[in-house]
Amino acid sequence: MIPFWIIAAVLIVSALWTVTARKPIYSVVSLLLNFAALATTYLILHAEFLAVMQIIVYSGAILMLFVFVIALLNSGIAAVVLGRDRVPVAPAAAAALAAVAFVATAIAAAHAPAIAPIATHSPLGAVGRGNVFGSIGDFGQALFLSRLLPFEITALILMVAVVGVVLLAGDLTPYVPTRRRAEQTRRALREAILREGK
């Protein structure tokens, strides 16, 4: 029980710090703390593979992406000027309503009778042991034998993301017939964005 309270406190405080920090880089650091605590929670909940994925994908890949973009924006030509944060009266009420609905659903789900009590053939055992629920082998068997479709959808999503990022952030000049027209297009787009922003 005590480990749960410690982890819950770390999770909530780091999440609050992420949302309220003045500088985005502080948000990244607190989000790193949040992800580490969450990986610990996953270990407690017998999701060994996901705990490792949490560290590798989130802390290793996504947060590094954030750090690089922050570095890119701050070292740009202009300083990043932001207005005041909104005072979220109506949106906060909507968010609170959503949270209440979420808690109600959670209570209902936690007290609902289990439809399929045990869908895996692996027994529950100590974290780190093989051939028990949530071990790497158990997860891999489920992923590649009984639930292959989500894994293949994952591959499709990643491919679409890679193509999208290259199209968005890459240099689009080769895709416009002439270099002069590419420059015109870019300037027109930039002026449109600036004009609308006034």
Binding site: M1, F4, A8, L11, I12, A15, T18, A21, P24, V28, L31, N34, L38, L45, H46, A47, L50, I62, L65, V69, I70, L72, L73, I77, V80, V81, L82, G83, D85, P88, P91, A92, A95, A96, A98, A99, F102, V103, A106, I107, A109, A110, P113, A119, T120, F133, G134, A142, R147, P150, F151, I153, T154, A161, G164, V165, A169, R186, I193, E196
Partner: protein, 106 residues
């Protein structure tokens, strides 16, 4: 039906997930910095993941863990594309304030 494990009722984990989701939702709504908004969205993804994994553990069903895996992938793709959009907008408009960039507001 397993409603508690290691002395912690499943509802406590669910309440934790909903609190994290609420914090993320508030950040996504209230902040103006698109990077912090994206990080808040990551918080919400993670709250959903925690709920999936708690229920997977409660009912000893792997489907929740598989779905959490899918959510992690979607979150990675979303972060990459959204950060690319932020970089492109900054390159064009020299600013990233989400209230100032409103060509698509209509």
């Amino acid at each position: 039906m397993a409603t508690s494990f290691a002395g912690v009722p499943i509802f406590y984990y669910e309440a934790l997930a909903s609190i994290l989701f609420f914090i993320g939702l508030t950040g996504a709504i209230a902040r103006r910095n698109p990077l912090v908004m994206l990080m808040s969205i990551e918080l919400m993804f993670n709250a959903a993941n925690l709920a999936f994994i708690v229920f997977a553990r409660a009912w000893l069903n792997n489907a929740g863990q598989i779905f959490a895996f899918l959510v992690i992938t979607v979150a990675a793709a979303e972060a990459a594309i959204a950060l690319a959009i932020v970089v492109v907008v900054f390159r064009f408009a020299q600013q990233v304030d989400v209230d100032e960039v409103r060509v698509l507001h209509g």
